[in-house]
């Protein structure tokens, strides 16, 4: 699995032949339906969710996230084993194929916001910057919904 994933990426990186258009890469990334839950104070980590769509014709690789809200932000993947135990772990770099959307959604993945600098208050929003392998950045305003929110609609 690991080797397949790696070799796929290597193949993508080593195939500039695919780059036909002038505009490509992270400029074609669209972030939609972003939302997060309010926090209780600053001692607990926060979580944000969104859909990251690659509208271009080249694969893009999401390598990191930054926000002034938290000292450290990273995408975590949640896995549940056969015994029903859920574990979260950093997802690492995420390659998004052309026309593909990666859903950072409850139960699958979340943006973990660690060491909050201020509480996340319902009704506010905060800027989150996604960084891609090609050096491009996409900044999105993430609305803060209630603690019991279940999706971008609340």
């Amino acid at each position: 699995m690991k080797h397949v994933a790696r070799s796929t990426l290597v193949a993508l990186l080593l195939t500039p032949v695919l780059a036909t258009g002038a505009l490509a890469g992270s400029e074609d990334v669209v972030v939609e339906n972003a939302w997060s839950r309010a926090s209780i104070g600053t001692s607990r980590p926060g979580a944000a969710y969104m859909e990251i769509r690659n509208a271009g014709d080249e694969a893009v690789t999401l390598t990191g996230l930054q926000s002034d809200l938290a000292m450290m932000s990273e995408i975590h993947r949640v896995t549940t084993d056969a015994r029903g135990v859920s574990t979260m772990a950093p997802a690492g770099a995420i390659v998004i194929a052309p026309e593909e959307t990666v859903a950072v959604a409850p139960g699958v993945m979340h943006v973990m916001l660690m060491h909050l600098r201020r509480p996340m208050q319902e009704g506010e929003s905060f800027p989150l910057t996604l960084t891609f392998l090609d050096g491009g950045e996409v900044t999105v305003a993430v609305p803060v919904l209630g603690i019991a929110a279940r999706g971008p609609e609340g």
Partner: protein, 209 residues
């Protein structure tokens, strides 16, 4: 052609291996050794023994749940994703059940008593459906509770230097007699949940005859 490649499996793999080793220890030598011979289903509530306190500071024990159908799940309030999602989902199911939700016990037991004291539990559950009760207590009593439900948990360090808890994320359903009826697993389609709860509630009358 659609394909998605994910890098960074290394850390996940190491974590998964660690979890596998830990799960092995838990079953062979650890507290799970007692549960080794069973089918992995929770014990009847009447066969469990532990003493905790609820989010209002009142002493609670599993026998108090007998007489009404129950939903019980484990988590912790510093949980960024799985627990608020579960609590929000349960709140939605209880809203869907309407007045019938008042005939259920709904209990959230923390696996992180170090940070989840009575006040922390009270504040946290206050954001969700009012039927949800939060239970905490000593590490030893929580371990006994988890053993009865055949739930597991372990502490794990995060990249930011804090700790998080890996834990059983299923919701356990019991009938009014305290018998384990079914579970709602975290990854299963959420629309199965309310029918399962209704079934646990119907067992109440069947169990009485």
């Amino acid at each position: 052609m659609r394909r998605r490649a994910i890098l960074g499996y290394g850390a996940g793999g190491v974590a998964a291996l660690g979890l596998t080793l830990l799960a092995g220890w838990w079953q062979v030598d650890g507290p799970g050794a007692l549960a080794r011979e069973d089918d992995g289903r929770p014990l009847p509530l009447t066969a469990m023994e532990f003493d905790l306190v609820d989010h209002e500071g009142r002493p609670v024990s599993p026998d108090m749940l007998v007489g009404r159908p129950s939903l019980v799940f484990f988590g912790f309030t510093f949980c960024p994703d799985v627990c608020p999602t579960t609590l929000a989902d349960i709140s939605g199911w209880l809203d869907e059940l309407g007045a019938a939700a008042n005939e259920l016990n709904v209990v959230f037991i923390t696996v992180d008593p170090e940070r989840d004291d009575v006040e922390a539990m009270a504040e946290y559950v206050g954001y969700f459906h009012p039927a949800i009760r939060g239970w905490t207590g000593s590490e030893e009593q929580i371990a006994r509770a988890a053993e009865g439900f055949r739930a597991t948990y372990e502490r794990a360090t995060t990249d930011s230097g804090d700790y998080t808890m890996n834990h059983t994320s299923s919701v356990f359903l019991f009938d009014a007699a305290g018998r384990s009826v079914s579970t709602i697993d975290y990854h299963e389609p959420r629309e199965f949940a309310v029918p399962k709860i209704r079934r646990a509630m119907e067992q109440e009358t069947e169990g009485a005859t």
